[in-house]
Point group: C2
Chain length 82, copies 2
Amino acid sequence: MPKFMDVHTGMKGVTPQALKEAHQADLDIQADENVDFQRAWGDPESGMVFCISEAPSADAIRRIHERAGHPADEIYPVPVEV
Amino acid sequence: MPKFMDVHTGMKGVTPQALKEAHQADLDIQADENVDFQRAWGDPESGMVFCISEAPSADAIRRIHERAGHPADEIYPVPVEV
């Protein structure tokens, strides 16, 4: 399954609890699109959040994040990894 | 040790071998700044590369990436993680 990094730019002030809840909202519905959200990292100061996932397509990720209430600003396939 | 996500925007066409070599160039000198580069993901099409690391500061990461020949375009502390 392809890997993707998606980026959110508007999550200023994100707390550990808020990120946990946002991630859980994704996990609750990700099976609908066969997405596997693996990890997310957030910077409360800039509002940037980065999520790594495996998914059939960027659109599948886009739909899950939209339905969960936090649309991604950018989604990149990351077929190269070290 | 704080975690950081740094972003490179100009690595179009990055291959697995090229990313491996770039990462190794960081690893070879990271001890000078007490940085621990853990993983990197690249998108050859857009040229985006994302690196996760632990480091004493963003400047420490900046210096290592510069000396290794691939300066980071953005460096974010990511104290929040799920």
